[in-house]
């Protein structure tokens, strides 16, 4: 890989000022995606800022009933934490649906959000990819696009975001906490990742000089009625073709509140807040779920190899809602 300088930082301020001052500098935490990308020369940092020494590992209760997840807590620690398992089983399930045990031990919560797409063309320097090299074109558009987006894509990029955890966080309406030169701020999950538009090289709305310090979960975890359903090409260790995160608040068989996010279908976890409202006050039944699934896929547009994803997304959505509301076939 390309030679780079490396520094382990011991404070958030130091990390942020290094991000600002050093050219082409990147944060490294678990490194599970960044190192792969460096080996194939897709990412070529000049400087790596190792933040593993920062005290961002805690998982703790927040005032007001929510939960704080440290940016450096590993995916495994998070998924198996009693507070997460007990109150946010949707998140736990989503994390455990991703990667492998080894990767989850190493990967951090902050890094999970910032992982790059797994589009084959992004990984192959000999092909065109606007995300890797702006203005070079999108080879996936007319190439092999079975795994690609059906919602929110642009002519410049049809890649998907690969995270499972982020899909659950979107349904849970979590917020990402980041610190930059101007201090800390929190970003709603819905606004954290972005659509490709005409600058797909930018994955998220995190500023280049900002560091993720944690994730805030709101009090409501939908621990009674939830589902994370991931459809993939094998039973484990592969990215979602489609995944669905569902959280429901119910009274009897009536849905009071529904939160739904789709993974594997867009450049970000996909939510249609207006569609969720369609379920509010409605009975949990297949017909109502179908209505929601149609509304969620409104505007979907598939490519040569991923037409199946539209049907799959709808059917997976209905199934996940059935599971979350404990409905049998």
């Amino acid at each position: 890989m390309k030679p780079f300088s490396y520094q382990k930082v011991m404070g958030i301020t130091e990390a942020v000022s290094d991000l600002k001052e050093k050219n082409q500098s990147y944060i490294i935490a678990g490194g599970t995606n960044l190192l792969d990308l460096m080996k194939v020369h897709v990412m070529q940092p000049q400087h790596l800022i190792d933040i593993n020494g920062l005290k961002l590992h805690d998982i703790s209760e927040r005032d007001g009933g929510g939960l704080h997840l440290g940016a450096l807590a590993s995916n495994a620690q998070t998924a198996y934490h009693p507070l997460v398992e007990g109150r946010y089983p949707l998140l736990s399930q989503a994390i455990l649906a991703g990667a492998s045990a080894q990767l989850r031990n190493k990967a951090t919560n902050g890094g999970n959000l910032l992982q790059r797409t797994r589009c084959s063309y992004f990984y192959d320097n000999s092909t065109s990819c606007n995300k890797r090299e702006p203005e070079s074109g999108c080879a996936a558009l007319h190439g092999y696009n079975r795994d690609h987006a059906i919602l929110g894509h642009s002519e410049h990029c049809i890649a998907t975001h690969p995270s499972d955890m982020a899909v659950a966080l979107a349904a849970l309406e979590a917020r990402v906490v980041a610190t930059g030169p101007d201090g800390a701020r929190s970003i709603p999950m819905a606004d954290f990742h972005r659509l490709p538009s005409n600058n797909p090289q930018v994955d998220s709305n995190l500023e280049a000089e900002e560091l993720i310090t944690g994730i805030q979960l709101p009090p409501e975890g939908f621990a009674e009625h939830y589902a994370y359903l991931k459809v993939r090409d094998r039973a484990s260790y592969s990215f979602a073709l489609v995944s669905v995160a569902v959280g429901l608040r119910m009274e009897g068989n009536t849905i009071l509140k529904a939160r739904v996010a789709l993974g594997g279908v867009a450049h970000k976890p996909w939510r249609v807040p207006g569609a969720e409202e369609l379920l509010e006050g409605k009975e949990a039944d297949r017909e109502n779920f179908k209505v929601l699934s149609e509304a969620y896929l409104t505007g979907s547009e598939a490519f040569k190899h991923n037409k199946f994803k539209i049907k799959l997304a709808k059917q997976t959505l209905v199934r996940a809602l059935m599971q979350a509301s404990n409905l049998k076939l």
Binding site: P3, S120, F308, L312
Partner: protein, 744 residues
């Protein structure tokens, strides 16, 4: 006389070394001053290199050289110098030979530096200007240009039997369908690697990932004009190969070239994406037309095969014999054409030809069984081959009927409703399917040497390989059993070009060929020991012929009176010998020519299909194997289990996706190319049925490398039909295909 009793279930003799990391693989040798080579591959599929700019790379401190076609050393000129022992007819690819690009990811430069990271970085600085030509990699588009090769690497299509077209036309039940599978890559866990140790006297010792050290040695001698004594090739451990190590690959060429030129030790390891840059199972397209009479007797079998090859070699494999090995039919025709593409030459991959041919055949047979209205098992039994019609020979042994019986019983086949789409549990449709398969059980000539030392330790050697199959273990067992020694007293050596000659480790022939040589070498050693024993004063074995003695419990003794015995060590001791050696050149018997020699399998599968989500789960498999004598039931079972996993991959997951625009396999890592993981595998059962065979070879064993795999994919696909009532004829059967198939 062949031995009949199965061998003992023993742990691998090399197991401890492997799990403790002491087993060193080709890319793990660390000679002093080792240099690292990183290969640069072409980014176009056809054309020529106008210029390679290496200046920036060469300017880096620690970069020694960038080899390209422009500065390579002189190389052999004739094709035959490049033809290895597994080369198909044609002109073998020559790395860095000239500026022509014949396929995408062709190796075009080797960057050599003091560290791997530096070499990799330097390689990223090399720029290449190409003159691009229009490549053709679209198999379906090129079908119309399919051709009959001058030579078939495997079997050539024979003349038809009877009148297949008319018989097909006149038959009551007819099935005509096309079956396809994509290109697939082997993906052993260990990537291809070569470490070349350069010695002051100019000789080299090469650690290579290869399924036959002699093949790499022959190749290097041919290409670089080296004498046999100047190059020794070692491959004591191979981390899986599945055929990808049959031919020397380009990292061997490049590492050796660099070592000879730079007069230094050099290592080249391929990356996972580069594992997509050479041989693969060829994409095939097969049209099957089968016909049966009202009562289910096969009337016609017509198989038309199209297989992928490169532009420079005509790769073919045995796709077409299977209909007439597994069934008999008076009217049959088998044809096989090649489709030339701008890709690298395909390469034998676990059950080459068999995996493809038997997949299509067994799916077609299942479809026809349903047309006739028979249970697929009864339909197969009705058309059971009593002889090999393809070569018109009787079978040396064939316990396939017993495989069907025991497999069906274990699986519970009799409880299966023949009607598809009748079993369901929750969201999942359940289906039960079966298929049967066969694989050649050839014995090839092999040499072996056995040396008994006066301390009672036996060392046996042959230049074969252990690619994870258990060769070390079973050869040690054969030797221990033949010599009447404990397994712990035996050491088996392999993977070294200086050892007695052995065939390439492939085609399920190693147990049979090398096992026979080991047994014969040990028996030869026994004969020599008897001669020495008889020279001892007061020998209890005086005037006894060899056939009246046995080697048991460390002794040479009279069969009918075991008290008349001499310890093997005593025999050496009393003759003042430190050791005694015997070498054998083992040949298959002439009698084998009169027989068709095959192992067989019957596979029963349960799948669970979630139609709304498009997923298929293989919940149960039973694989009943007739493989002759089982030398070690434990390693044997592992081989069959591996074959079953392999079948799951072929049926449901594996596909090397060609991007036709770039002419490049695009899903080129293990995130994009799916193979089964543990979670994909549930109940797997293996049955070895008893099968005695005195003809196959002196040890009665048939080899198990491929027979465990061949019938698995079709059994899965047939089970999916039984679950859903829908036919899937294009592998792998993935989520998208399940969702998009609306046929009922």
């Amino acid at each position: 006389m062949a031995a009949t009793k199965n061998g003992e279930a023993r742990n691998r003799v090399d197991g401890y070394q492997k799990v403790t990391g002491q087993a060193k693989y080709a890319g793990e040798w660390q000679p002093p001053g080792l240099l690292h080579g990183v290969v640069l591959n072409s980014t176009i599929a056809k054309g020529k290199i106008l210029h390679i700019e290496t200046e920036k790379a060469l300017q880096l401190d620690g970069v020694l050289q960038v080899f390209t076609h422009e500065n390579r050393p002189p190389l052999a000129h004739y094709d035959k110098s490049y033809q290895d022992l597994d080369a198909p007819p044609g002109t073998p690819f020559r790395p860095l030979f000239d500026n022509k690009i014949l396929f995408n990811m062709q190796p075009i430069a080797l960057v050599v530096a003091e560290s791997l990271e530096l070499a990799r970085y330097a390689a990223s600085l090399v720029t290449v200007n190409y003159e691009k030509k229009q490549h053709e990699v679209d198999f379906e588009k090129q079908l119309q240009h399919a051709f009959i090769p001058k030579d078939y690497k495997a079997v050539a299509p024979p003349e038809p039997w009877g009148s297949p077209a008319e018989a097909y036309h006149d038959a009551k039940h007819r099935l005509s369908a096309t079956y396809t599978h994509p290109s697939q890559h082997h993906h052993p866990m260990e990537p291809h690697a070569s470490t070349v140790l350069w010695e002051e006297n100019g000789r080299i010792t090469v650690y290579d990932k290869i399924q036959g050290a002699l093949n790499s040695q022959k190749y290097l001698m041919g290409v670089f004009g080296l004498a046999q004594e100047d190059v020794r090739v070692l491959s004591p451990f191979v981390g899986g190969a599945f055929g990808s190590g049959l031919r020397p690959q380009y990292q061997l060429f490049l590492a050796t070239m660099a070592a000879l030129e730079l007069r230094c030790s050099v290592r080249v390891v391929l990356s996972r994406p580069q594992m997509f840059s050479f041989g693969h199972r060829p994409k095939t397209h097969q049209r099957f037309s089968l016909a049966a009479s009202e009562d289910g007797q096969l009337q016609a079998m017509i198989q038309e095969v199209y297989g992928e090859t490169s532009r420079f070699e005509d790769y073919s494999e045995n796709v077409i014999s299977w209909p007439l090995v597994l069934y008999n039919c008076a009217n049959a025709s088998l044809s096989y054409k090649l489709v030339g593409l701008d890709v690298y030459t395909p390469l034998d991959m676990r059950a080459p030809g068999g995996a493809s041919g038997i997949f299509a055949l067994e799916c077609a047979m299942d479809e026809l069984a349903y047309q006739v209205g028979m249970n697929p098992l009864d339909f197969r039994l009705k058309n059971y081959a009593e002889k090999d019609q393809f070569e018109d020979k009787p079978f040396s042994s064939k316990e396939l009927r017993e495989c069907f019986r025991q497999g069906a019983e274990k699986f519970g086949w009799k409880n299966r409703p023949n009607q598809p789409r009748t079993m369901q549990e929750g969201h999942e449709l359940i289906g039960w399917g079966l298929a049967n398969g066969a694989w050649e059980a050839n014995q090839k000539p092999a040499h072996a040497k056995a040396v008994l030392a006066v301390d009672g330790k036996l060392t046996v050697s042959s230049a074969t390989a252990d690619i994870g199959t258990g060769t070390y273990t079973i050869m040690s067992q054969v030797a221990a059993e033949t010599m009447g020694l404990e397994l712990e007293q035996v050491t088996f050596k392999l993977g070294d070009s200086s050892l007695p000659k052995a065939p390439l480790e492939g085609g399920s022939a190693t147990a049979s060929s090398v096992g026979s040589a080991v047994r014969e070498a040990c028996r030869q050693l026994g004969k020599k020991l008897l001669e020495l024993a008889q020279e001892v004063d007061g020998s209890p074995l005086k005037d006894i012929p060899f056939w009246e003695v046995e080697m048991e419990a460390g002794q040479l003794r009279l069969k009918k009176d075991p008290t008349k015995a001499m310890a093997l060590t005593d025999i050496l001791h009393q003759n003042q010998k430190d050791s005694l050696a015997a070498t054998i050149d083992s040949q298959p018997s002439e009698e084998q020519d009169n027989y068709a020699i095959y192992s067989h399998s019957a596979v029963f599968v349960e799948v669970r299909v979630d139609e709304a989500l498009g997923t298929v789960r293989v919940s149960r498999m039973v694989n009943a194997i007739a493989g002759g004598r089982i030398l070690n039931p434990k390693t044997a079972k592992s081989q069959i289990l591996g074959g079953m996993v392999w079948g799951v991959g072929m049926a449901l997951e594996e596909e090397s996706v060609m991007d036709t625009h770039y002419g490049r396999f695009i899903n080129h890592d293990l995130a994009g190319y799916h193979i089964p993981v543990n979670a994909d595998l549930q109940e797997l059962d293996v049955i070895f049925v008893e099968e005695e065979d005195d003809i196959v070879n002196p040890i009665g064993a048939k080899g198990l490398g491929e027979v465990g795999n061949v019938a698995v994919a079709p059994a899965i696909v047939n089970a999916i039909f039984h679950a859903t009532g829908k036919r899937f004829r294009d592998l792998p059967v993935t989520v998208d295909k399940i969702l998009e198939n609306d046929e009922v």
